[in-house]
């Protein structure tokens, strides 16, 4: 079975949504059975634009949803927010997808992000003031950290079907957070429980072996959220997320089912980042079109900069290598003078590679962050062979190129073994 894992090798926003949409479309890996989410939660905003002009920012539903019949599974590694699911399904209906909830399954063990977590998260971010971490305000990190401290008490998706357990866990959660942070602005417990109960009545909450059956029933696309450079262990601490953003969770789920997958790394022709943290090649003078990313109250500004081969190579290495690369936003690269950084000037020395440190060593990651904040980019002279550099940087062939927002703007590159097979189906390269 030809499964694919899609992971962003940057800070997020590389175009995973559009890539997953393409993979699920008739041009891609069809017929895809299910898009599996394996990290993050409702904070995702994977933008998909259809050729007929419909747009949706996919948060919890898989970005393959515009293709009829493609299902979404939220694995146990996802932090599930049922309230946001309701809102997202509602919007999907307005862009013509009326059966989103009917195509959704949720692993019982997935953690629940609740209004209590969100209120606590926002209270903490506000207290940090200028030193905020760039959290999205959706309570994902709060949910994860509470579950680490109180694994047995953490509300999980499966609890929605057992009102007594759910009420007890939510009450305990509310009490602990209020003790720590003072009164939080949250809805009444009974009303929240009611909403979760009707969620459980609508959406199948499944056991872990469900995914194994799916993976033997048809091709799956594993859709990663955020980017490897934001990984909780491998990112530039403390400017990271509470989520494992590498291939690791997806590989775990595949291994449980005795399945394997192609590892597809998604890269933009330039770098982008929401919120604070190291960004060596940042260039505020770059004026690039950005249709769907703007300033967010909880994350701060949207930043852009030039292609950073050191950071991308670092991402590819810490995530254990990629099999193939999707290079997106090539239309932007064609119209703007983008540069290529293959070395830093750091403490008087020229640095050409960021050595991955030991696993799970946040002290090392913090030192790395401090070094990066001192580093200055050294840019190549114009006229470099982009594709060659990207392939050399990642050690993998570019198999999918994106020259625009919709599935019609993607095409397979020379290297792809399936190229001849699908050539007649793809849009014309511009």
């Amino acid at each position: 079975m030809n499964h694919i894992i899609v992971v962003d090798l940057g800070y997020g926003d590389a175009g995973k949504g559009a890539v997953v949409d393409w993979l699920c479309s008739p041009f891609g890996n069809a017929p895809v059975h299910t898009v599996v989410r394996f990290n993050g939660g409702a904070q995702a905003a994977h933008n998909v634009l259809t050729p007929d002009g419909r747009h949706h920012a996919f948060a919890q539903f898989g970005s393959g949803s515009f293709t009829p019949g493609v299902r979404t599974h939220l694995s146990r590694f996802v932090v599930v927010d049922p309230l946001a699911l309701a809102a997202e399904a509602w919007h999907l209906a307005s862009v013509g997808i009326h059966d989103a909830l009917d195509r959704l399954t949720v692993d019982r063990d997935a953690l629940l992000a609740t209004p209590y977590h969100q209120a606590a998260n926002r209270a903490r971010e506000l207290a940090r003031g200028q030193n905020r971490h760039g959290s999205c305000g959706m309570g994902i990190g709060e949910t994860a950290s509470y579950a680490l401290c109180h694994p047995a008490d953490a509300p999980r998706a499966g609890d929605c079907a057992t009102p007594r357990t759910l009420t007890r866990k939510l009450a305990t959660l509310a009490e602990r957070l209020a003790d720590e942070l003072g009164p939080l602005d949250t809805p009444p417990l009974a009303d929240l429980c009611d909403a979760y109960r009707v969620f459980a009545a609508k959406v199948p909450l499944v056991d872990p072996d469900y995914l194994s059956r799916v993976l033997h029933a048809g091709p799956a696309v594993f859709e990663g959220a955020q980017g490897v450079l934001l990984d909780e262990w491998r990112g530039f601490h403390p400017y990271t997320t509470w989520s494992t953003t590498t291939f690791a969770n997806a590989e775990t789920l595949l291994a449980e089912a005795g399945a394997t997958a192609t590892r597809l790394g998604v890269i933009r022709c330039y770098m982008t980042r929401h919120g604070p943290g190291p960004f060596v090649t940042e260039d505020p003078t770059l004026e690039l079109p950005e249709q769907h990313n703007g300033r967010n109250r909880w994350q701060g500004p949207f930043r852009v900069g030039h292609f950073d081969a050191l950071a991308i190579r670092y991402a590819a290495e810490v995530t254990g290598g990629v099999d193939e690369v999707a290079l997106t936003h090539q239309d932007v690269a064609a119209r703007h003078e983008l540069r290529l950084c293959q070395a830093y000037q750091l403490d008087g020395q020229r640095v050409e590679r960021l050595e991955p440190g030991p696993a799970r060593d946040l002290q090392h990651q913090e030192q790395l962050t401090r070094r990066l904040l001192r580093a200055r980019p050294v840019y190549d002279a114009p006229g470099v062979d982009w594709q060659a550099v990207v392939e050399q940087t990642t050690g993998a062939p570019i198999t999918l190129a994106s020259h625009g927002p919709t599935a019609l703007d993607k095409f397979l590159s020379q290297h792809h073994p399936a190229r001849d097979h699908v050539t007649h189906m793809r849009g014309t390269p511009r």
Partner: protein, 321 residues
């Protein structure tokens, strides 16, 4: 990465899951509600606002108010089910950049539980929540008259819309129904239902004149409604709204009709463009809309642009080309 744009409150989420499980989309009405939902109660409302914002700099106010009484038969239900598509249709085809839509219900102030229900202007799907909260009247009808005059009074005196105040562009108001208005806004009703203390009754003519200063107002009369074929109602609205009276053969086409009227009014499209757009999005409403809009589509004389107040910095009341 992103902004968590799909966050919502527990009540809305619960209602949506219930609706998806097969429970009624008109949960409020069907849940046995006897009075206007607090969110839609016009009593004590100072103004309903449609404002520009960083995210929506070119706000365009659109209000859709429909008759919720028994005389309309299944029409209110069809509207409740159809109208959520309106926003998507406007945005998808670029007829309006930043539409802000308000939904409301109209009954009979002389006998109904819900003579006037008014939601909020919303730029996203939140307006659908208002729609699902609208209380539908069971009985009623028969007098050929509903309290449209109160709705027009409210929309004239109790709305503040940036498209008009800052850019001199009127908003769009659609009344959907099959009856006539009462000849005057009665003091007692304005007080009881809206909370306004009027010195005296106001004549309908005064309100329709004032209304048209702020709103490009249309009356949509569904064919198949109770008084079909009887021209008294039609004549009544023609006398007040001129060519802006639309007879609609198939109510399923209501969103497409409204969207095209706005597209035409904003000079975003010609009628032919609009009909082509409808075919594009897979709508089969084309012939119905084409027939309904034949008059306004052919000779759009009535594009009134009122001048913006002189003390405004923003662009004045130019017609966008």
């Amino acid at each position: 990465m992103g902004s968590g744009r799909w966050s919502t409150d527990v009540y809305t989420a619960a209602a949506r899951f219930r609706a998806a499980t097969g429970a009624s989309a008109f949960a409020y009405s069907d849940g046995g509600a006897r009075r206007v939902h607090p969110a839609l109660d016009p009593h004590g409302v100072d103004i309903r606002e449609s404002r520009d914002s960083a995210e929506h700099p070119q706000s365009l106010a659109i209000a859709v108010l429909f008759d919720v009484t028994g005389s309309m038969g299944s029409v209110p239900r069809t509207l409740q089910a159809k109208l959520p598509q309106l926003l998507g249709l406007l945005l998808r085809k670029g007829y309006a950049k930043d539409p802000q839509i308000l939904f409301g219900g109209i009954g009979d102030a002389t006998c109904d539980r819900a003579p006037l229900q008014i939601g909020q202007f919303e730029s996203d799907n939140r307006m659908d929540d208002d729609l699902s909260r609208i209380l539908l009247e069971g009985g009623g009808g028969g007098q050929k008259t509903e309290s449209y005059e109160l709705a027009m009074y409210f929309m004239t005196r109790h709305t503040s819309i940036d498209c008009h105040e800052k850019r001199g562009r009127r908003g769009y108001l659609f009344l959907i129904g099959d009856e006539m208005a009462y000849p005057r806004i009665k003091r007692a009703e304005a007080r009881r239902l809206i909370g306004d203390k009027l010195e005296a009754d106001i004549r309908l003519e005064h309100i329709t004149a004032a209304l048209k200063q702020k709103w490009d107002a249309y009356y949509i009369l569904p064919e198949g409604a109770y008084y079909q074929g009887d021209t008294e109602v039609l004549d009544f609205w023609h006398a007040r709204f001129g060519q802006n009276v639309i007879e609609l053969a198939d109510l399923d086409a209501v969103c497409e009709t409204i969207a095209l009227i706005i597209g035409l009014g904003e000079d975003a499209i010609s009628l032919d463009d609009g009909l082509a757009d409808l075919a594009d999005v897979g709508s089969v409403a084309g012939p119905v809309v084409s027939k309904a809009l034949a008059t306004i589509g052919a000779g759009r004389g009535e594009l009134i642009i009122s001048p913006a107040p002189a003390d405004l910095d923003g662009p004045s009341g130019n017609i966008r080309l």
